[in-house]
């Protein structure tokens, strides 16, 4: 199994076998060092926003168009004892992604290797993906003249080059565990729960959420206590398609609205810019 502790040379040969990129993120191992947060920005060349000191330590407070992944810090007190938990936010790369299904122009695609990626040339700025995502992941570059949708790419470029995603590569404790197979990571997750009774809640977040995702989480606490939304198990595009399939005329309206929205956004941005000047 390809693991973070193995060298990148052990990454699977693309030609020989189909890769199904997957992360098992074990929050019990996370030390909150935020190496992943920085490595992600570094690899993607993402800029920063001016921030203020954050008493929770989470900073930036939420994912944004320049922050594809961050660590959220949760301090709690129970019976006089304090605890401090760290959880990574980022794209779950759904097996059947809602963002992909609602995109009218196929700007978002689910690649054969697993990552859900964004093709900026196709995007018309309707931002349906942002609304559709059950995990609240894609972000829009409101501040830019030609805004794009931004989110974690699973380091698709690195994967194709046989390299580990940058967050997994930087993680010192193996919290972000990469595998070339969702099944393998799922088996690993089940093994850890079985081998360490009492250590984890008996829930692999991402096994069933949204019909299953490529990124799965293990935790000592219910995941909603670590800032992760309660997401139903149903495959979301199934829901979407039922809805859209029922009223085909809506599609045209959606497209028109999308284009309209894009034009208005562009115009607003231009006006904002002129206003600044």
């Amino acid at each position: 199994m390809a693991t973070n502790t193995a060298t990148e040379k052990t990454m699977p040969d693309q030609s020989a076998k189909k890769m199904e990129a997957s992360f098992l993120i074990d929050t019990t191992k996370c030390i909150g060092c935020r190496g992943c947060q920085v490595a992600c920005k570094q690899w993607n060349g993402n800029q920063t926003d001016p921030t203020k000191a954050s008493p929770t330590f989470t900073n930036p407070l939420k994912l944004n168009s320049k922050t594809y992944t961050n660590i959220a810090f949760f301090e709690r007190e129970q019976n006089g004892a304090v605890s401090w938990d760290f959880a990574r936010n980022g794209c779950f790369h759904c097996k059947k992604p809602a963002c992909v299904s609602v995109c009218p122009v196929e700007a978002l695609v689910k690649t054969p290797e697993g990552p859900v990626i964004y093709r900026e040339g196709r995007c018309m700025g309707c931002r349906y993906c942002i609304l559709a995502c059950p995990f609240n992941v894609p972000k829009y570059e409101w501040e830019k003249l030609a805004p794009k949708v931004q989110k974690c790419t699973f380091c698709y470029d690195r994967l194709l080059a046989g390299m580990l995603p940058s967050c997994a590569k930087s993680c010192p404790t193996g919290t972000i565990h990469f595998s070339d197979s969702i099944e393998k990571n799922l088996a690993e997750a089940k093994k850890r729960i079985a081998e360490h009774p009492g250590m984890y809640v008996n829930h692999i977040y991402g096994e069933k959420e949204a019909g299953g995702t490529s990124v799965m989480l293990l935790s000592a606490l219910p995941l909603d206590q670590l800032g992760h939304l309660k997401v139903r198990d149903q495959v979301l595009p199934d829901l979407t398609w039922k809805y859209i399939g029922g009223i085909p005329a809506i599609i045209g309206v959606v497209l028109a609205a999308g284009i309209g929205s894009w034009v208005i956004t562009r115009r607003n941005q231009n006006m904002d810019k002129e206003g600044d000047e």
Partner: protein
């Protein structure tokens, strides 16, 4: 580190006290977490619940500056509950030695040991000695029952450290003390091992050295020194601070921990006489008995052919300090403050923020005629003349900035905390006009030498006689040639003194290791402990530090073919203490070394008994061998681990004293409040106002400490210039408890003024449950903490250095400043 980073995984119990590896050494957590995965337990003792504490199985809070009370209580617990490793303690430590009957302890003398001179604030250590027999060896009671033996004195000394007393001093709840003592004390068995990780949280106190001594005593009592998964491990705060210490960075040591000579030692003979320890015990290796070989080889390395037997190998050219002189950081800046220096190279450092009592440090810089700031970035030190409250017109100091290359822009070795010297290559050429440090030094050398040659000077010989053979293939200065000089050369053919047919070294070749070094000038070595790091093997030159072999024959993570570990590629030092007197491992599952009487010589195929595993602390057979057996602690003159340590300035056993600035009127344990052997810069009445301190003063009621965190490094010169890091932690903050916040009506996120007797700064309030008030001697004591990585220069509203608040006081032995415990006030702005 006695052990090394990967070895942390072999521990059953990891005690983190005086350090914060998850935040400051994140990679180490990989190994600590591996220990936990195998059922190991992590204990964290810290005033604040840190990111390391977040991963701990057991967390215990303690008030800053009370570690000795905490550890003293552990020693008492281990002795009372018979948890110590008897065979190890009796045979491998000085526990059985009989101490001078005139020796008295703090319990008998109001908090001081015998021999104290209050006026001089110094001890006469005459009574801190052992009773000797007629052969000149220490008298022993192997039953450990004699009331004057070290073991019984230890028991007596720490009998005062009861749970009630310790809890009253430290503020740690009694049940937490017992939990920690019990869990760590469980490693006194042969098949259980505990390790300790510390950093500046232990060193930066007026009792810093004794904090570590207290833990060393515990590790000796539990038989954890020398063991895989054991030891006492300093987590060094800079990637190469181990290397720089090895190579003589500190004022009192030359490379290889060879003492700097003083003016009272006029020649090499006097020097060797003073610094070469002796023993009359044939079973003691007494490795420092080799000192003359190392100093002579060092002189040959730096003065080459100019160093001859007739001129004492150039000993006279070595810089000398005055007898008893202390030239440590605090003293240097005190002297600079007093106008005693003209010039200063601030090389790869930022004293305007990193030095304790930064206001005094900044004032000291203004007394200089010139300063050279060698750094990657402009910083608060180079720009001190335009800092807050300073009018540039008033400053006469001429400041030069020399941009230098970063670690990825130059080639050379880095020695990590585990003593592994690892070779690195330049990834990219230096940007702009920046140069690697070696090139800057090379340019300086050329110019200074030329000035001496053309214009003369008071004492040109130390410079004009220096060897400087670093030129190679078009390169002015080649790091490889420096590394080879450090390793050392055979300057003549060397033959075994006992067997003249056996050649040990060939003229012109690199030394195999330090064992073949000579005291007569026939060998050179720039740093004896690096002997074998760059060597000749079967006619080929090999840079051992560049090795990247991944073999792990013992399965203990020694990786003996990866880089080079000093000394002689030994991965765990004192490893002879990991086996019994017959050479059998205490714990066969963690067999770091073992004696194999049936070992076969691979060449001759004949039986040649020997050690297997790690490179042992000397090839001698096990201690039980009547003819040739040796004691395990080879660097000690008597071969024993020192439970009684008469070498330190402030006592042979650690004793609790309060920090210079503390929240309580009296030391609850004795009438002696602060460490009686520290140098006071201000006596409370007289002294420079900059050196003032206030203890138990209502104006400064809160205990404070400083620390680092993952996102920033040291004073933040590199990290404050990296937006990705600054985005996460952009401003100075102060962490305070919910209870203190409620008392002062402080709201999370608001700006606060934090002040001490010496300075003030503003910081954002982080109100947290990770700090809790302490109950000290019946009253409530609050503690706050803040990082020291900020400074006024950048970013614009980042805030100031926490060292504006810290005091001018140092440890009694090392003079490291006490920045981990001082008193402040916190107010709403």
């Amino acid at each position: 580190m006695t052990n090394h980073w990967i070895d942390l995984k072999n521990a059953d119990v990891v005690l983190v006290m005086g350090g914060n590896p998850a935040e400051n050494h994140p990679i180490s957590m990989k190994w600590i977490m591996k220990a936990r995965e195998k059922g190991g337990k992590l204990i964290v003792v810290d005033p604040r619940f840190t990111r390391t504490a977040a991963k701990a199985d057991l967390y215990a809070p303690l008030r800053s500056g009370t570690d000795i009370a905490f550890l003293g209580g552990m020693i008492k617990y281990i002795l009372d509950k018979n948890l110590y490793f008897k065979e190890y303690v009796a045979n491998y430590t000085n526990a059985a030695y009989l101490v001078n009957p005139d020796f008295r302890m703090p319990g008998q003398l109001n908090g001081v040991f015998s021999g104290y001179d209050g006026k001089a604030r110094k001890y006469d250590k005459k009574t801190w000695s052992f009773q000797m027999d007629d052969k000149g060896l220490p008298k022993k009671d192997m039953t450990l029952k004699d009331p004057n033996c070290v073991f019984q004195l230890l028991r007596k000394h720490y009998s005062r450290y009861t749970l009630d007393m310790v809890s009253d001093i430290t503020g740690t709840p009694k049940e937490k003390l017992v939990e920690v003592y019990k869990l760590f004390g469980s490693t006194g068995k042969a098949n259980r091992v505990g390790t300790e990780c510390y950093a500046m949280g232990w060193t930066q106190h007026t009792v810093g050295t004794q904090n570590i001594r207290a833990m060393s005593i515990i590790q000796l009592l539990l038989g954890n020194i020398g063991m895989a998964g054991g030891g006492i491990n300093a987590l060094r705060g800079e990637s190469n601070v181990q290397g720089s210490t090895d190579h003589g960075l500190l004022f009192h040591i030359l490379p290889g921990y060879v003492p700097v000579p003083s003016a009272a030692l006029p020649d090499l003979k006097a020097y060797n006489e003073k610094f070469t320890p002796k023993t009359k015990d044939p079973k003691s290796v007494n490795w420092w008995g080799n000192r003359p070989k190392y100093i002579t080889s060092y002189l040959k390395a730096i003065y080459g052919t100019s160093a001859t037997k007739d001129n004492d190998f150039g000993y006279a050219w070595l810089p000398k300090i005055d007898e008893g002189m202390n030239a440590s950081w605090l003293m240097l800046f005190d002297q600079m403050f007093k106008g005693k220096f003209e010039g200063f190279f601030a090389w790869g450092q930022n004293p305007a923020c990193s030095g304790a009592n930064a206001n005094k440090t900044r004032k000291a810089l203004a007394k200089l005629k010139w300063m050279v700031n060698v750094n990657l970035f402009e910083n608060e030190t180079g720009s001190f003349w335009k800092g807050p409250g300073i009018n540039p017109k008033d400053i006469q100091t001429e400041v030069f900035m020399l941009p230098c290359a970063s670690s990825v822009e130059k080639e050379g070795s880095i020695t990590n905390s585990g003593r592994w010297a690892q070779w690195r290559y330049a990834a990219i050429p230096p940007i702009g006009q920046s140069k690697p440090d070696t090139e800057i030094i090379h340019e300086l050398y050329k110019r200074v030498k030329k000035l001496y040659q053309t214009k003369g000077g008071k004492f040109p010989a130390p410079i004009t006689n220096l060897t400087w053979n670093y030129k190679s293939k078009g390169r002015e200065i080649d790091t490889h040639l420096i590394a080879r000089e450090i390793n050392g050369y055979y300057l003549e053919d060397i033959f075994d003194a006992k067997d003249a047919t056996k050649q040990l070294g060939k003229k012109g070749e690199l030394c195999t290791n330090f064992v073949t070094l000579q005291a007569d000038g026939r060998t050179s070595s720039g740093n004896w402990i690096y002997g074998g790091s760059y060597t000749h093997k079967e006619g080929k030159i090999i840079n051992m530090m560049a090795r990247r072999g991944k073999a792990d024959p013992t399965g203990l993570g020694l990786f003996p073919e990866w880089s080079f570990s000093w000394p002689v590629n030994r991965r765990i030092i004192y490893n002879r203490a990991a086996v019994d007197q017959q050479g059998r491992p205490w714990d066969p599952k963690r067999a770091i070394i073992k004696w194999n009487p049936d070992k076969l010589d691979p060449k001759t195929k004949k039986t040649a008994p020997g050690w297997e595993g790690d490179v042992p602390d000397g090839p001698a057979p096990p201690m039980a061998d009547e003819k040739a057996g040796k004691y395990p602690f080879i660097m000690r003159a008597d071969g024993m681990g020192s439970i009684f340590g008469p070498g330190l300035a402030d006592g042979p056993f650690p004793e609790h004293y309060e920090a210079l600035e503390c929240p309580i009127q009296e030391n609850l344990l004795s009438k002696t409040k602060i460490n009686p052997a520290i140098k006071l810069f201000h006596d409370g009445k007289t002294g420079a106002p900059e050196d003032i301190y206030y203890s138990c003063d209502t104006r400064y009621p809160y205990v404070a400490t400083t620390y680092r965190m993952t996102e920033h490094w040291q004073t933040g010169i590199m990290t404050r210039n990296i937006p990705w890091l600054l985005e996460m932690v952009p401003q100075q903050y102060v962490e305070i408890s919910k209870e203190l916040a409620a008392e002062k009506k402080i709201v999370n996120g608001e700006r606060l003024k934090v002040s001490s007797a010496r300075g003030e700064l503003t910081a954002v309030a982080f109100v947290t449950g990770r700090f809790k008030p302490f109950k000290i001697g019946g009253s409530t004591v609050h503690q706050v903490g803040m990082p020291w990585c900020f400074g006024w220069f950048t970013p614009k509203d980042g805030g100031e250095s926490a060292n504006l608040l810290t005091s001018t006081i140092g440890d009694a032995n090392t003079m490291i400043p006490e920045t981990k415990a001082f008193m402040v006030n916190v107010e709403k702005v």
